[in-house]
Amino acid sequence: MHFTLCDLAADIAQNAAESGATLVEATFIETDSEFRFIIGDNGKGMTEEQLERAKDPFHSDGIKHPGRRVGLGIPFLIQTAVQTNGTWDIRTRKGNGTTVEANFDLSNLDAPPVGDVPGLIRTMLLYEGPGETVVRRSYEGIHGAIDYEVRKTELVDALGGLENAGALVLLDRYLRSLDGTDETDD
């Protein structure tokens, strides 16, 4: 079971990245009482029947991992949302991509902690599938206000690729500076 909401979102974002999509768009909207994410892709999508089966933790198409009988990403998300007074929604059409949206009530005693949002964004930018990943993040609350957007193509251009550990160190610093959570002072 995932510890933070960001872990749940990472799982859904990985599905999007592996859907054959050329574009993945994600939006994270956070306040002190609410965390909401919308992750959409233009990948292969699902039929209604496939969507029903994706909600079943004991189902897997067996293509990615031959012989495996579980698929837990979406079931974990639904379970956590249902248990903590949150909401979830999956919109999909075969051949037309999938959008997963979830809304968590942070004042609920059982709601998981939000987790490390800049770290999640870095993880999302590193998924290999889609040519472009756009992530928007906003926060408004007692810690101030954050509002920014990052694009994978711009960052790849600025850093000359994202896999080199040197680029990752800079990417991490960049994302944390946008979030205002970096510890370095200069």
């Binding site: 872990d7 031959p66 550990a165 990752l168 160190v169």
Partner: protein
């Protein structure tokens, strides 16, 4: 610290470019691949990845190592799992890689060129080798 702009990011990167070109010419490099499937994330693979970046930064190895993410490696009971490829050494998957083990991998495997016998889990699974 104030928000960094893309331009500032580019400048920071350009400062290191000459070193990079030198390394690219020999073509081979060390790769560290962290399993970030559902199982990996649940077991703390993100902390493992963060720890690798921090340790490589500290040891000034950032320009010599590629850090990548992959999905589940089929060893869910041993997550977080990390595959380490060093040219001239056998490719191995380490299991239960927490922050302490990350430091050991960087110091003993990447720098000392010795396998960490106690943490070896497996060779790469057949279904991820094709990739």
């Amino acid at each position: 610290m104030a928000k960094m702009t893309l331009e500032e990011l580019r400048k920071l990167r350009d400062g290191k470019k000459t070193e990079l070109r030198k390394r690219d010419s020999d073509g081979k490099s060390i790769q560290v691949i962290v399993g970030m499937g559902t199982c990996g994330i649940a077991a703390g693979a993100k902390d493992t990845l963060d720890a690798f970046i921090a340790a490589l930064d500290e040891k000034k190895l950032v320009d010599d190592v590629l850090v990548r993410q992959t999905g589940c490696m089929g060893l869910c009971y041993a997550e977080p799992t990390v595959e380490v490829l060093v040219p001239g050494m056998p490719t191995v998957i380490y299991g239960k890689v927490d922050v302490a083990v990350v430091r050991e991998i960087v110091e003993k495997h990447l720098i000392g060129r010795q396998l960490l016998d106690n943490h070896i889990q497996d060779r790469p699974a057949a279904d991820i080798v094709a990739k």
